[in-house]
C-alpha cells in the first residue's frame, strides 16, 4: 500500500454500498482489507491458523452487525479492533500478552532473545532478495512492540493511521511518536550495516 492510496477511503466507499444493499461489494472489500487484518492478527502474536480464524470471525461479526456501523469510514478500525480483541481473547486463554503490552519493554531495540517470538521461522528462506533478507534481520532486532507497530502501520498511508492505531489499540496521539522511534531505531541499525542499500 502506498502513501497515496487510502485504505479507509476505498473501504468506506465499498462498505457504504454494501450497507445500501449491494451485498456483492463485500467481496472487493474483503480483498482490500484482508492483508491488513491478517497482519494485525499476526502482529498480535497469533499462529497462522488462529489468525485465519480470527480474520474470518471479524468479517462474520461485521456482516452480522453491519447496520450498527454508522460511519463507513470506521469499517477498517472496526474490523481491526475486532481482530485484536479476538486475538487478545485467544492469547489470554494461552496466557500470553500482546507483543506491545509488555510493560518493561518500552525501548525500540529488544534487549535479548525472545523465545516466545511468533515471527515466522522460515521467513529468511522466503525472502528471495538480498535487500529483504538484510531488512528482515534488522527488523527482527527491534522490540516485538516496534515490529508489530511497523508491520501494521506500513499497510496504509497517513490518512489510515488513525484507523490502524485504533486497530492496534494504541492512542492515535502516541502512534506517531512511537512509529518515529521505531523507524529511527531501524534506520540507525541499517545505517551501521554496510550490506544495506536502500531500494
Amino acid at each position: 500500500m502506498t502513501a497515496t492510496t487510502s485504505l479507509v477511503e476505498e473501504a468506506a466507499e465499498l462498505f457504504a454500498a454494501f450497507q445500501d444493499g449491494r451485498r456483492g461489494r463485500i467481496e472487493p472489500l474483503v480483498r482490500l482489507l484482508n492483508p491488513t487484518l491478517w497482519h494485525v492478527a499476526r502482529a498480535c502474536g497469533l499462529e497462522r491458523a488462529d489468525a485465519e480464524d480470527v480474520v474470518q470471525t471479524a468479517w462474520l461479526r461485521l456482516v452480522d452487525k453491519a447496520d450498527t456501523v454508522r460511519d463507513p469510514r470506521t469499517v477498517l478500525a472496526w474490523l481491526g479492533t475486532t481482530v485484536r480483541r479476538e486475538a487478545w481473547r485467544i492469547s489470554r486463554e494461552r496466557r500470553r500478552s500482546l507483543p506491545w503490552e509488555d510493560a518493561d519493554d518500552d525501548g525500540a531495540v529488544r534487549r535479548g532473545p525472545d523465545p516466545g517470538d511468533p515471527a515466522p521461522g522460515p521467513a529468511e528462506a522466503l525472502l528471495r532478495h538480498e535487500a529483504q533478507r538484510v531488512l528482515w534481520t534488522h527488523v527482527s532486532r527491534l522490540t516485538p512492540r516496534c515490529q508489530a507497530i511497523l508491520r501494521v502501520v506500513s499497510r496504509g498511508g497517513p490518512p489510515d493511521y488513525a484507523s490502524l492505531s485504533e486497530a492496534l489499540g494504541i492512542p492515535v496521539g502516541s502512534i506517531g511518536p512511537t512509529r518515529g522511534r521505531c523507524l529511527a531505531a531501524l534506520r540507525a541499525s541499517l545505517a551501521a550495516d554496510p550490506s544495506w542499500s536502500p531500494s
Binding site: 451485498r23 463485500i26 484482508n34 485465519e52 535487500a131 506517531g176 523507524l183 534506520r187 531500494s199
Partner: protein, 156 residues
Amino acid sequence: MNEHDSPLDAVDAALLQDIARLYDAADPPPASLDDDVVFAVSLAAVDAEIATLLDGAHLALRAGEASPTDTVTFTSSALQLMLRTAEDDAGALRIDGWVTGGGIDVALISGTTAHWTTSDAHGRLVWRDVPRGPLRFLLHPAEPGGKPVMTPVIEF
C-alpha cells in the same frame, strides 16, 4: 492529520513501503483466505448468529497439540452443538453431532461444499467420510423465523 502525525520524510516513507513488502513476502496471508472469507460471509448474509466455542475448548482444536481431545461444543442463544470425531476402520474421519432438538438442518461446510443433514428426534447427527481440513457448521432451526447459527472455522 493532527500535530502528532509528524510528517514522514522520504526515507521513512520508503522504509515503510519496504516493510509492507517485507511482511507480504515473509508471512503472506494464506492464498485461500479471501475466498474462504467471501464464502463464509455469503452464507452469513442469510443473517446467521455466530456461535461461540465454549471456554477452554479452543486449545483442543488444533492438530498437533500434546493431548488433543476430540470433542468440542458450540453455543448460541438458541442452540448448542456438540461434535465428536472418530476415525472409522478405513481411517476416514467421522463426525457425530448432538444438537439441542430434533429436525434441525445442519450443514457441515468444507471449503465451498456444504453437506446437509437433519437431526433425528434425539438431536443426533452424523457425517461420514469427512474431508480433512478446516470445517464449519451452519444450523437452521426447525421453527419458522428461527435465526440460523454459524460456527467459527475449526479443524479436527
